[in-house]
């Protein structure tokens, strides 16, 4: 018995010691953190060099929120390709799922702030990258990589702009999703002799006709508010057009501008056609309404196509059709996943190799057919894609590209969370003036002013 007590005592003393050591450690850490940002540049180069010296253990840690069906297959396909090319580099797949990437972002933020960046991480191109980690000075320039790989004319210029800040490129886009797509139930439209609406006027006309037939015209699932924000951003794009839409996020156009209010009015009218239980549904449940014929239309990013074809086994162009959201025909709302190189990574050379595979035609054509997205490169092999993919690839090349607000590409995440909050209230209350005022306040407080 005494022995046991002795053991317990020893354990307690030990735990005491660990605690004491730890507390002194915190002080060192704060000192480290205060070191000027400029140091990290040279640091990462040092670490890259040293990793050359000990070739024993090269590795690249890939941080993403791709864990679901399709997307995970795409990622694993990329990793396979990478392993074939670089059998000496170990790939660590650090994927964190849930909450459309929010969990992953929480983990990433904690790790970056805690000074333990992953080798490379998934980030939406545009503001999420530029006002986030780039502005925080945590990313390396990739201009040299783009030059050496000859990528400057292989990605659309608008897209390269989205991953650049003051002429410096910070990440490699791997895929493109389109955000301004209106999916519709083909049978309902045929039965009611309707043609898919291209303008707001046509949309409202069709919606009225459908409502008269007792069919829910528009399915919405705003349990997570970003879906309502997508409807709003597409209305903004439809009313303002691509150029003015972009100026909203540079502050040249205020969010209480008459045109914004017009877009809010249109959004409000669209919301008058939605299913009553919208707040209880997520985007998938809303898409289901269209799939099973309870609702006619759904505004969603084109991952919904993957859900229709892969999960619900529907036929594109037979069971469901698609068209750009009202008045956005010549525009392409871009959602792009990109990967960059954080500063202070242990083995930067291996990350470079990974990014090269990611940006190659081969890599993009392995990943995207599986993920259900289209390649970011303009020279990919479109025969590898389904009928939806091919038509989208064609649209992508011709349209003017606009960054999605709802997915963090148009403005900083701080602004986006506020927009989502405004939309949460707007869906129910429909107060245009109040919404415009709140949006303007958010725009100003987020520093989006000219």
């Amino acid at each position: 018995m005494n022995k046991r007590m002795m053991l317990l005592a020893v354990f307690l003393v030990l735990s005491l010691l660990t605690a004491a050591c730890g507390s002194s450690g915190t002080n060192d850490k704060t000192a480290l953190e205060n070191q000027p940002q400029t140091n990290s540049d040279s640091n990462s180069k040092d670490s890259a060099d040293s990793s050359d010296a000990d070739t024993a253990k090269k590795s690249v840690e890939i941080f993403s929120w791709w864990t679901g069906a399709g997307e995970e297959a795409g990622l694993l396909g990329l990793i396979d390709l990478f392993n074939q090319k670089h059998p000496d580099i170990e790939v660590i797949n650090a994927a964190v799922a849930g909450g459309a990437g929010t969990n992953a972002k929480a983990v990433l933020a904690s790790r970056m702030q805690g000074g333990d960046p992953p080798g490379t991480f998934q980030v939406h191109g545009g503001a999420e990258l530029n006002t986030g980690w780039v502005a925080a000075g945590k990313m390396e320039s990739l201009n040299a990589l783009y030059e050496s790989e000859g990528w400057m004319d292989k990605f659309p210029k608008d897209l390269i702009d989205m991953v650049s800040h003051d002429g410096t490129i910070y990440s490699v886009p791997v895929n493109i999703h389109r955000g301004n797509v209106l999916f519709y139930n083909k049978k309902i439209f045929d039965d009611n002799h309707l043609t898919p609406p291209t303008t707001f006027e046509e949309f409202f006309k069709a919606a009225d006709a459908l409502q008269a037939q007792g069919i829910i015209p528009l399915a919405l699932g705003d349990k997570e508010p970003w879906t309502a924000t997508m409807v709003f951003e597409d209305a903004l794009l439809g009313v303002l057009g691509p150029e003015d839409y972009k100026q909203l996020f540079t502050g040249e156009i205020a969010f209480d501008d008459a045109k914004v209010k017009d877009a809010l009015e249109k959004t409000k009218r669209m919301f008058s056609y939605i299913n009553e239980d919208h707040a209880a549904r997520n985007w998938q449940d809303a898409a289901q309404l269209v799939a099973n014929g309870q609702a006619a239309m759904n505004i969603m990013g084109d991952w919904a196509k993957g859900y229709f074809t892969t999960d619900l086994k529907l036929q594109p162009n037979v069971d469901f059709g698609w068209i750009a959201t009202p008045d956005t025909g010549g525009s392409f709302m871009v959602i792009t996943d990109t990967f960059g190189l954080p500063k202070g990574v242990k083995d930067a050379n291996s990350v470079d190799e990974w990014l090269k595979v990611l940006g190659s035609v081969e890599g993009q054509d392995i990943f995207n057919p599986l993920k259900g997205s289209i390649p970011a490169r303009v020279d990919a092999d479109s025969s590898k894609y389904d009928v939806y993919g091919q038509s989208t690839i064609a649209d992508f090349k011709q349209s003017s590209l606009t960054p999605s607000l709802a997915h963090g590409s148009a403005a900083a995440e701080g602004f986006l969370t506020q927009v989502n909050q405004v939309m949460t209230i707007f869906v129910t209350k429909g107060d245009v003036d109040q919404a415009a005022k709140s949006l303007r306040d958010a725009q100003v407080s987020s520093g989006i002013v000219k």
């Binding site: 018995m1 007590m5 317990l8 660990t18 050591c21 730890g22 450690g25 915190t26 060192d28 850490k29 840690e61 929120w65 791709w66 864990t67 679901g68 069906a69 399709g70 997307e71 995970e72 660590i92 797949n93 650090a94 994927a95 964190v96 799922a97 849930g98 459309a100 990437g101 969990n103 929480a106 983990v107 933020a109 904690s110 790790r111 702030q113 805690g114 000074g115 333990d116 549904r281 985007w283 998938q284 449940d285 289901q288 099973n292 990013g301 991952w303 993957g306 859900y307 892969t310 999960d311 619900l312 086994k313």
Partner: protein
Amino acid sequence: MTTKLVKRALLYLVLISFALLFLVPIYVLLTTSLKGNNEVTLDQMWAFPSQIDLSGYKLAFSKLFPHLGNSFLLTIPATILSALLGSMNGYVLSKWAFRGSNTLFGLMLFGMFIPYQSILIPLIQFMQDIHLYNSIPGLILIHVIYGLPICTLMFRNFYVAIPTEVLEAAKIDGTGFFGIYRHIIVPLSITGFVVVGIWQFTNIWNEFLFAVTMTTQKQQPIMVALQNLSGSQIVQWNVQMAGALLAALPTLLVYILLGRYFIRGLLAGSIKG
């Protein structure tokens, strides 16, 4: 006699209807997990699967199994350690109160209300400093520490009920601090250990936030793997529900096994003293 019978029947009726109500969500979980992907929709949630489709289980099992070991390696030591420490703390605070011990108890208890999201960043930095970040021992440490307040509270409340006279007698016999703990307190607190054990085991097993932020890939416990079954945009509910049931099996087992102990401990008259 008949009124007694009626009462008895009524009792069972009430009990059975409560039990059925409690099982409704389980029905939904089970049927959904056995459906094929295209049958899983909100409108068909009450329907039986048109045919038993085990693909959800297959996929979930293959993804969860590699993480099962991590969860056991994490949960068992963390539960035992926090229960032992909590019992010791409870013993001291209830039977060996010293000047200021009540205040210390209050300060300790306050600790369980801290919202963990707000301390993630300093916690990660701290764990890196003591080189326990991204390791199971690190996660154990975190769970033990943040489990201390509630374990201490539970044990203290158990021990308060033990009559002080018993201790006094032992002290007169010359039994010391550890002797009393070993020979009087521990045997009397089997129920306490079971309750605390169940509580800690389920909480640690099901905990997600620390698990996801403190580990990467190979060290991830099962709950993180369960979350990873769902994608960034598309969720396959049959796989998700199958996974949820599989991941809950160990905790269920704990309940069924320890449930017996629970009663045995009670019958032994541990509380009545």
